[in-house]
């Protein structure tokens, strides 16, 4: 059975609605990445240096990341030499397969679900640079967790940015969960401490902690984050159960630096990729999976409350290669 057929069968098992969300949200990425590769292959027929160079550009243009692209291209060159491939069309399945392998990143068995367990207080800490959508993601996740029957509490740990607390409160109101807050300028660790106490006494299932956006090269601000982390660690054994780095999918190569630095100082356990709909370049997902040992757990695929979706590599690949798969399925039959 061909690779794509297997994948397609796997997708069929999944809910139609989710598949559609992925397919719609990733339209742009698909156009940029897959569409261009196909066009390139049609145009070139024979494989030569220019072909590789253009392929390189397409991949980089989707923010796949220079390092990953170089590795990929080198591997392809090897394959071409080994298998004596001359026709560009023959290279396509190999390329698709390689991309999929990169996406699954040897971590296909890795769980993308959240590390939360019923019957205990679970703490999720959200970190990231400015303007990636931390507060919005918390709002959406609170909605999702509440739908699943959890008792949720929000902690307004962004005490720096003007009106960040109010923004979280609006989300709290929409979703119908309480928000623990201090005033602007307060010590975020103190807010988190209070929120933990409140969560304990109210018998909350999941506590979602917002933090101020900070650029990863600001040592002092990263220290502040470390303090928040320590407070959580001290107050609840095993906490924080998840530290989610929120990444803006429009970010370029700097996403790597963010993931690395936050990974070191805040013990990131997973990534939420926001703004993946519309303009976004899903390529960064490939780079992250290839170059870093961090799973992408959730993706933001739209502006609505229920547009936060668990990341599913299979869905992602399916959405990207939908066209390719149909072609292959046809020729296979």
């Amino acid at each position: 059975m061909s690779f794509f057929k297997k994948l397609r069968d796997a997708i069929v098992q999944k809910s139609e609605a989710v598949t559609q969300k992925f397919t719609q949200g990733l339209t742009k990425t698909r156009d940029v990445l897959v569409g261009k590769v196909e066009e390139l292959i049609r145009r070139y027929k024979k494989i030569d240096e220019d072909f590789f160079e253009e392929l390189e550009e397409i991949l980089i243009g989707a923010d796949v990341g220079v390092t990953t692209v170089m590795e990929l291209i080198d591997e392809l060159r090897d394959e071409v030499r080994k298998r004596k491939i001359e026709e560009a069309a023959d290279l396509q399945p190999i390329l698709s397969e390689k991309l999929v392998a990169l996406l699954q990143g040897g971590g296909s068995e890795r769980d993308t679900s959240l590390n939360i367990h019923p019957g205990q207080l679970n703490v999720i800490l959200f970190v990231g640079v400015n303007g990636v959508g931390k507060t919005t993601t918390i709002g959406k996740m609170a909605h999702m967790l509440k739908q699943q029957g959890n008792k949720v509490l929000l902690a307004a740990g962004d005490t720096f940015r003007a009106a960040a607390i109010e923004q979280l409160e609006v989300w709290g109101g929409r979703v119908g969960v309480d928000v623990i807050k201090h005033q602007q300028g307060a010590d975020p660790a103190a807010v988190i401490y209070d929120a933990v106490q409140a969560a304990k006494s109210r018998g909350v299932d999941v506590l979602l902690c917002d933090t101020a956006g900070r650029l990863q090269n600001k040592v002092n601000l990263m220290e502040e984050l470390a303090k928040v982390y320590r407070v959580l660690q001290r107050e609840i054994p095993g906490a924080p159960h998840e530290v989610l780095l929120v990444l803006d999918a429009t970010t370029g190569q700097n996403a790597m630096s963010q993931a690395k630095t936050f990974g070191q100082s805040a013990g990131v356990t997973g990534i939420v990729l926001t703004k993946l709909d519309g303009t976004a370049k899903g390529g960064i997902v490939i780079a992250i999976r290839n170059e870093l040992n961090l799973p992408v757990k959730y993706v933001g695929l739209g502006e609505k409350m229920d547009d936060l979706q668990p990341f599913d590599p299979e869905q992602f690949v399916h959405a990207l290669f939908a066209g390719v798969m149909d072609d292959e399925a046809k020729t296979g039959e």
Binding site: G61, V129, N130, A162, A163, Q216, N217, N220, T279
Partner: protein, 472 residues
Amino acid sequence: MAFESLASRLQSAFDKLRGRGKIDEQAVNEAMREVRLALLEADVNFKVVKDFVARVKERAIGQEVLKSLTPGQMVIKVVNEELTELMGGNVAKIAVAAKPPTVVMMVGLQGAGKTTTTGKLAKYLQKQNRKPLLVAGDIYRPAAIKQLQVLGEQVKAPVFTLGDQVSPVEIARQAIEHAKENHLDYVLIDTAGRLHIDEVLMDELKQVRDVAKPDEILLVVDAMTGQDAVNVAESFNQQLELTGVILTKLDGDTRGGAALSVKAVTGQPIKFAGMGEKLDSLEPFHPDRMASRILGMGDVLSLIEKAQEAVDTEKAKEMERQMRQGEFTFDMFLDSMQQMRKLGPLEDILGMMPGMNKMKDLKVDEKQLGRVEAIVKSMTLTERANPDLLNASRRKRIAAGSGTSVQEVNRFIKQFEEMKKMMKQFTGMADKMQKKSKKKGFGLPFMGKSAGNLPLKERGPGFPFNFKPPFK
């Protein structure tokens, strides 16, 4: 994923070819590949890179590079020049309407930093004795209006809002009326973040524009944006006819290639750059310095400028004279430390130095500097001038006086002695370097190409690099 600077990449490319005797077209091609990779790694859009590389190559294959004794550096020079030109030469200013108020519209994607930048721009205008009005035109994001109100309070500028139930078009219209009545000369309209492919919201922006007739439409772009920056800028420009760009979050460690992409597709100047969390951290954008940054050569000019603002030249000259004679006292140390701290947080300063961006682990503990200051200040004047006096009982007294321990005092004195030794070597070395660089035309190797061109000397020797702070 080490970001090698382009300078060092080129150097190694040419080192490999050194044995061949002659530098030919193939060598240039090799170098161009490095240029291309460096730009791509800096997030410059690949189409922009392609055009750029073609242009540089044309010049590089010309005589000036091949005949040069140091082709590697020549290539960097050409790249830097072309890059600066592409970035658009001069510092651009914000528009002033013939008849006030000047209307400025802020547009961009979600999370680019429009609202914060609006606040910063108000502060910037106030410093120039302008009276800005902030207009809360983001009626969609929760608490965006409140955010602008808080910012307005912080910079003490009036904020115009009609709540989140009135259309942005109407808000803009009334705001301008309001500004006219109250004799405010700048109207800064904040708008909601939107995707450039969202037709409904883009239409709304066009309507706001038609009503407000802005003198400036500024696209706010996150400096960390990847390849998509081109599409964003292109479509905002097509639909709204931008007049300029503001680059935000440039204080991060991104190389900011987006700047180049945005400039290349819109043709509009980048007018400001957001350089920090504080409200006075909006700075005029210097294209030439951005060129150096994209190439990974550090922002030496900004550093020098900062130093000039903060440093007392007379004092520095005197200090340099003393140092050349091998003198170095605690007083001098204290002086230079205080001057250095006037420049701002040490990390920011180090970030601007070429080569320093690699030293990620370098952590500067500002508190530690405070303790050092206390130690020096607990010494008597005689002790400060004459470190040899410091025997055990004096050290004990100093520790008590500064609230530190004898161990800390000892450690500091040891560091100080080492610094003194180093200083001697350094001043000696600097003299030699100067002579050498005159001959070769290029300066300190770690400064890349720019050092040779920098008028370091004319700008005065008052650069307080002549000490090493006690890093932990």
